[in-house]
Amino acid sequence: MIGQDYWWVLLIKAVVVVLGLTTIAAYLTYAERKVAARIQLRLGPNRVGPFGLLQPAADAVKLLFKENAAPANRDRLLYLVGPSLAGGAAVLAFAVIPMGINNWFNYQFHWDIAHFNVGLLFILGVTSLGVYSLFLGGWSANSKYSLLGGLRSSAQLISYEMAVSFALIGTIILAGSLDLEQIVGAQQQTWFIVLQPLAFVLYFSGAFAETNRAPFDLPEAETELVAGYHTEYGSMRFGLYFLGEYVNMVIVSSIATTLFLGGWLPLFPFHPFDWIPGPLWFLGKVVVLLFFMMWVRWTFPRLRYDRLMNFGWKVLLPLGLLNILITGTVVALRA
């Protein structure tokens, strides 16, 4: 079931989430530059607004007003479809991420758009569509660099999706449900990062690859592919891809939070920690993970492509299977 909300509540939730995600994504670009600057002993953006906080807005204006330069023999329709889809799948997946439950005046309010009894499956299903955006971007431009980038990214995404899904199954076994709220609820005592450390590492490694971030950012490797699948994109169309990447980051962090870091649950299940509302806990954990991703990006070298694929198939996947095997055995023995 998708939920029992009134349709207008749903609408409001949806609008808020979409706007919120775009804003967060925009500010993540700012954060990334700041973090990069700190790591490289620089200042980062600091001209537009206080501490450069308006920089994302300025970027947005710039991208919007730039002239559209597009390859002449592109596939006109798909050239437009590609960027439009970017981030779409990710936003859709966010619809079922629970950020808390409140009971207001006998109205049970779920901090998500849709409460869905097989939320995890929904996420896995929807995120598997993300590949098309990259692929279409790479293919439609009719340029070999973008094509190679597109193909690489698709291959990479598919390979890692397997590993990532396997990593998640351990948590499902522990929680005994696919309902994300129930999975969070099962972490009341112990977060799954404690019970499933290997799975968390596997998932998050895979998540880097899924979001095309360093050290797995082969599809858009500047030095080899001149930025990969979006080489031939400019102005706001490029902006959409850019935005999509950061939305993706938010999503993978949210999933990791929900499945491994106890979602909206406080760090410790007692006062004063549980005075802080659940959604804030959730956001906090997501922010920590996002920072971690940026940190990694600016401190790790990039893998070679074949190593990347090997890593996915020959390390992550077997380990994921092993994790399932161990978890399943333990759960079966204890039951």
């Binding site: 798909l78 896995l124 590949v131 696919l178």
Partner: protein, 185 residues
């Protein structure tokens, strides 16, 4: 909700036409992506959540990507035959006829009457295997993933095992057929 269903079904149908009539292979493939996605939504609406996920992950996320991949790699040229020639016209007429016929047959209440589906009534009378042991809404109450999974590994274990063999065969075959050997020219 009815509007949603109608839109989803219409999109599925239109994109299916696109699969057949697109002059370019890649458009066919992308139309098929839309079709399978819409079908997955239908599955969701039909309370088959597990199938929804499987449809998206396997079909949209893997099978269709493979298609798109191969098309991009091989880059087959557009067909020289016009997509909408007389054969296509005949085909589409047949499609329309069959669809309407099936619709009318199903609509006329032969398949189901006031007492529910005929298969259900007849089945209930003749069933030693508890397939209908779930009450009318047992499937709907909790996620039916559990029900499906439970049945999959007990009653339908044999078919399930056959699929594993099938996948193994397909994998071996694909590797064999695409493997480059020294004697390859």
């Amino acid at each position: 909700m009815t509007a949603l269903i109608a839109v989803v079904m219409a999109l599925a149908a239109i994109s299916a036409i696109g699969v057949v009539l697109s002059p370019q292979t890649i458009y066919s493939a992308l139309s098929l992506v839309v079709t399978v996605t819409m079908i997955s939504v239908l599955f969701l609406l039909l309370n088959a959540q597990f199938l929804f996920a499987v449809q998206l992950i396997i079909y949209a996320g893997a099978v269709m990507v493979l298609f798109v991949f191969i098309i991009a790699l091989l880059n087959p040229e557009a067909e020289d035959r016009p997509a909408l020639d007389y054969r296509a016209m005949i085909g589409l007429a047949a499609v329309a006829a069959v669809t309407i016929l099936v619709f009318v047959t199903a609509r006329n209440g032969i398949t189901y009457g006031s007492g529910g589906f005929r298969g259900q009534q007849v089945g209930a009378a003749s069933n030693p295997y508890h397939t209908f042991a779930f009450g009318a809404d047992a499937v709907n109450a909790a996620g039916n993933v559990q029900t499906v999974a439970g049945q999959l590994f007990t009653t339908y274990l044999l078919p399930f095992e056959i699929t594993s063999l099938l996948l193994l065969v397909a994998a071996i075959g694909a590797v064999y057929l695409t493997r480059r050997t020294k004697e390859a020219a």
